[in-house]
Symmetry: C2
Subunit: 278 residues, 2 copies
Amino acid sequence: MPKSASIEDEITQAAIERLEQGADGRLRDIMISLTRHLHGFIREIEPTEEEWLAAIRFLTETGKKCDENRQEFILLSDTLGASMLIDAINNRKPSGATESSVLGPFYREGAPDYENGADLAEGETSGERVLVSGKVIDLDGAPIAGAVLDIWQTAPDAIYAAQDTSGTSFNLCGRLTTGDDGRYWFRTRKPVSYTVPGDGPVGAMLKAAGRHNWRPAHIHFMLSADGYETLVTQLFTDDDPYLGTDAVFGVKDSLVVHYDKADEGLRLDHDFVMTAAA
Amino acid sequence: MPKSASIEDEITQAAIERLEQGADGRLRDIMISLTRHLHGFIREIEPTEEEWLAAIRFLTETGKKCDENRQEFILLSDTLGASMLIDAINNRKPSGATESSVLGPFYREGAPDYENGADLAEGETSGERVLVSGKVIDLDGAPIAGAVLDIWQTAPDAIYAAQDTSGTSFNLCGRLTTGDDGRYWFRTRKPVSYTVPGDGPVGAMLKAAGRHNWRPAHIHFMLSADGYETLVTQLFTDDDPYLGTDAVFGVKDSLVVHYDKADEGLRLDHDFVMTAAA
């Protein structure tokens, strides 16, 4: 049977017109764009009624999987590359500025303040020792004094403090403040690769699509300083097997860093370049 | 700040390549198309991080609202015109055939078989009396004998039998079978306009978009006959105030019918044209 192009076009047109006749404003623009793209997707793949029902079930199960400790729709957004795209759109930076990456689900507010030189992994007995250091600078290379680095990463067992169910752990989390020279430095253990949750509908989708659910090892940083845009980013280790296939597309070339051998374990040097607030 | 076109393009490209490198088959095609259209939507509206989080919350609440008696994601699909578009794609018919409309959430299998002439609204004391009649024919106008019409509609209080929580009501539901002449006829009460659920996230979305949640009055029909494509459709009354603004876009011009005044209430004559099975 050939397409009844006119009937199908009329449905899309009617759905858009209904919104055009509705309330003005940002929501109208969003809904019209959503409708146009959703209908475009449907026209392109021409889902059967069984496929449509499978999609309804997938979305329903994704909602059911969400609770206060689990956000399966954010995981879906992450694994479709949507979160990173939205991050990029909201963090357009001039050339030379440190690039952003997503905040992710494991940021826990209220990490303790440390002096530079502190060991964020105190009490950890495994994992490679690292001294991380560098400067926080502006686009002209001038040091930024008083910049706060909020840092979080996996423990050697691939667990974040935020996954601790007691809700109080700040293991491998901490805040440092730069001095007049813009320098920061701290000790930690090298972060490790880990998996995003694979036991829900998104995990099943990844599996069916022939994808894994690993993230390459990284350290998260959120940098804030008076007069500068807050910078949320991640530094990825350059020897990670999942560097090219991050399940959530968080890797950018400029954020891949090398750990040098040092007398006592490893050493990572990295400068962060912040941009002035608008 | 100007767009960092290359970074944003790279994210979309990476998300698509990951799928291209994954498992072959229909799911891959669906996921690639979904990714392309989802990213296109995001690029067009450039959501803020707050808007992205609002979308995550909306989807989560929509999932939470679903239970065995309520399917909020189907309602979302319906109110975006997606269900009717998929219905149209799956029911392309030659000119002259009766057009389809969506099954909707209120079909309950197992309606009682009646003789032609039966009153499906027996026991109802309000609503306008109607005699509905017509023929079931093929594209050449020849009668189809033994066609089964499965019929359901609102009661005068705007409630479907399927909304009865006991799960057993078949009020204003029934199955008729055509004789050798292809004719069918039954008595009922004129259907009334009603609202789709407005107390969930989809209702809130409609309200925010300046849309109502009414459906114009209609009778549902599912016709089946050996050797013919099953036909799921609705007949809409031509004097309904919501005819032009059906919340779920189910109305097609050819499905709008006129109720004539008759000696005893109203009379509706309508022939259904079925297409041969492929």
